[in-house]
């Protein structure tokens, strides 16, 4: 991967001069960044760097102070979260936010049903939905737990259910907020495999991740945030070999 900008049609999401403050804290400070189609962009940076806030601004969960966000060239500045989802921008939450009193299967099913008015599904719609649910269950290894309440799942299973909800959709951009944190090595492998397969199919991913092994193995591009500022945005080697960035990264985490 090179750092030069390819043609603008490759850019799914174009972010320019994004700012967000909470009281005196600049959580996101003049961030400009392109999320390019079909690749994995990894957001790294110490805790409190503004990574989650960055996601919240993209999906409209929070309103930005200044700056612009374009999706496929179209301004989506005042978008609400449900509208972002309907455009094909889906996210996971750092704290998961599963539908705790619903079963695993219901969690996935409801995630592919954005309609507001009561509708009843035709047989064909049911079959098509069920197929997607089965795919998500199978890929995440949750098929045996389909009737378990989300609340009763183990930690890793909850993380995978969070992925399964997104996996069943046909979203174009996935914003994943620390989806792999706290997973055991075996789950890591499953997680990486899910990501690779979907990216190969054309999904674009922006992922927040701390584990350097994972960062190295999945990233096509790395963006480094610190105290709200984008300190680097480039190919993995360059960013990871920058002594200044590593100092900040490990310094903050020690």
């Amino acid at each position: 991967m090179t750092d030069t900008h390819t043609s603008s049609s490759d850019v799914l999401l174009e972010i320019r001069g994004l700012n967000k403050s909470f009281g005196g804290v600049k959580a996101v400070d003049e961030v400009s960044m392109d999320l390019r189609a079909g690749i994995v962009t990894t957001l790294v940076g110490p805790n409190g760097a503004g990574k989650t806030t960055f996601f919240n601004l993209i999906t409209g969960e929070l309103t930005k102070d200044t700056g612009s966000i374009r999706w496929l060239g179209q301004k989506i500045d005042r978008i609400k979260p449900y509208q972002a989802a309907r455009k094909g921008i889906l996210r996971t939450f750092q704290d998961l936010r599963l539908f705790n009193d619903m079963t695993v299967e219901e969690n996935i099913l409801t995630s592919i049903e954005p309609m507001s008015f009561p509708t009843f599904r035709t047989r064909a719609q049911r079959a098509e939905q069920q197929e997607r649910v089965e795919y998500a269950l199978e890929r995440t290894g949750l098929a045996d737990k389909r009737h378990t309440l989300a609340n009763d799942l183990a930690y890793a299973e909850r993380k995978f259910l969070s992925m399964a909800r997104i996996l069943a959709t046909d979203a174009r951009l996935w914003l994943l907020d620390e989806p792999a944190s706290g997973l055991d090595p075996q789950s890591y492998d499953r997680f990486l495999d899910i990501l690779r397969v979907e990216v190969k199919k054309g999904v674009t991913v922006c992922i927040i991740e701390h584990n350097l092994d994972i960062v190295i193995s999945i990233s096509d591009r790395i963006a480094f945030l610190d105290r709200g500022r984008l300190l680097a945005d480039g190919d993995p080697e360059t960013v990871l070999n920058d002594p200044e960035l590593t100092a900040i990264y490990f310094g903050e985490r020690a």
Binding site: P81, F99, D101, S111, P118
Partner: protein, 297 residues
């Protein structure tokens, strides 16, 4: 004695409709309303006014009651559902207080404090139903229809959306759910079905006044749902039956001082409710462990 039991059965089925329709928004959408009696009242007044002035045909009175109940529920839903849960409870309480004033003052429609008298019986294609032995079929059939409608809704994509919103509003929105719109629709559906109970109640008694539609009724309906089991199918009906049977059972215990029955009843309610919430927070029918009722972010 038979007439007494029949009357009780009719009231239980009507209150079951009220509890089931409140449970629809409370148990599945996490919307706690203290204005349920308002829509009960609106249904009663709207259908009575229609029956007294235009037609007593159930094919006219019921749709009118439902339409007005649905339309007026927007007064509550549109502003209140855009804010957080606690504010909705407060807004619904405000509406309940306001509605009581309107019910008691708007003489032209509600008959004021005195209420409406001589409400015509239900008329189904020329057949007048006023004998309790016949009316019970009407209320039970209506209850069953309401149960079927709500059951189908709950198990549809709409019902899943409501539950998703109840469990996590932000996650539901992140998956494309228009949270305020879906909540509004659920409140409208609930109010329309609640108005049906009001229409039946008014034509059964042939007399209504504001006392049936005050805050204590809203609280009673909410207690029925919570005691029976929020978010369960049978819970609200069990709760309605229990809370309506309790006063009669207590009044049969003749060792109790009859003049104090009222306060004894209150004590039993309060104690029962407290014990239930400690030992079975999910209600009589509900699961023992209740999680995130009322919802996280």
């Amino acid at each position: 004695m038979e007439a007494y039991l029949l009357n009780l059965a009719i009231l239980i089925s009507i209150y079951s409709i009220l509890a089931v329709t409140l449970n629809f928004i409370m148990g599945y959408a996490g919307i706690y309303s203290l204005a349920h009696a308002v829509f009960f009242g609106i249904g009663a007044y709207a259908s009575s006014y229609t029956a007294l002035n235009f037609s007593a045909s159930i094919f006219i009175t019921l749709p009118v009651a439902m339409a007005i109940g649905a339309a007026l529920s927007l007064v509550l839903a549109l502003p209140a559902l855009r804010v957080r849960g606690e504010y909705f409870v407060a807004a619904s309480l405000g509406l309940q207080v306001l509605a009581v004033t309107i019910f008691s003052e708007w003489k032209g429609v509600t008959g004021g404090i005195g209420g409406l008298i001589g409400i015509p019986p239900v008329n189904i294609a020329g057949l007048e139903i006023y004998k309790p032995g016949e009316f019970i079929f009407l209320t039970v059939v209506t209850l069953i229809v309401v149960l079927v409608v709500i059951n189908r809704l709950v198990h549809s994509s709409f019902g899943r959306s409501l539950q998703a919103i109840r469990d996590s509003e932000s996650a539901a929105a992140a998956f494309g759910k228009n949270v305020p719109l879906i909540k509004t629709i659920s409140v409208v559906i609930s109010a329309a079905l609640t108005a049906v109970a009001g229409a039946l109640y008014a034509s059964y008694l042939a007399f209504i006044n504001v006392e049936s539609f005050m805050l204590d009724t809203s609280v009673l309906i909410m207690a029925m749902v919570i005691i029976g089991g929020t978010g369960t199918q049978a819970g609200p009906i069990v709760g309605a039956a229990l809370l309506l049977l309790l006063p009669s059972v207590i009044s049969y215990l003749d060792f109790l001082p009859q003049t104090e029955i009222g306060s004894i009843q209150q004590i039993i309610y309060g104690l029962g409710m407290a014990l239930l919430m400690i030992y079975r927070p999910g209600g009589i029918i509900g699961r023992k462990k209740v999680t995130s009722a009322g919802g996280s972010k």
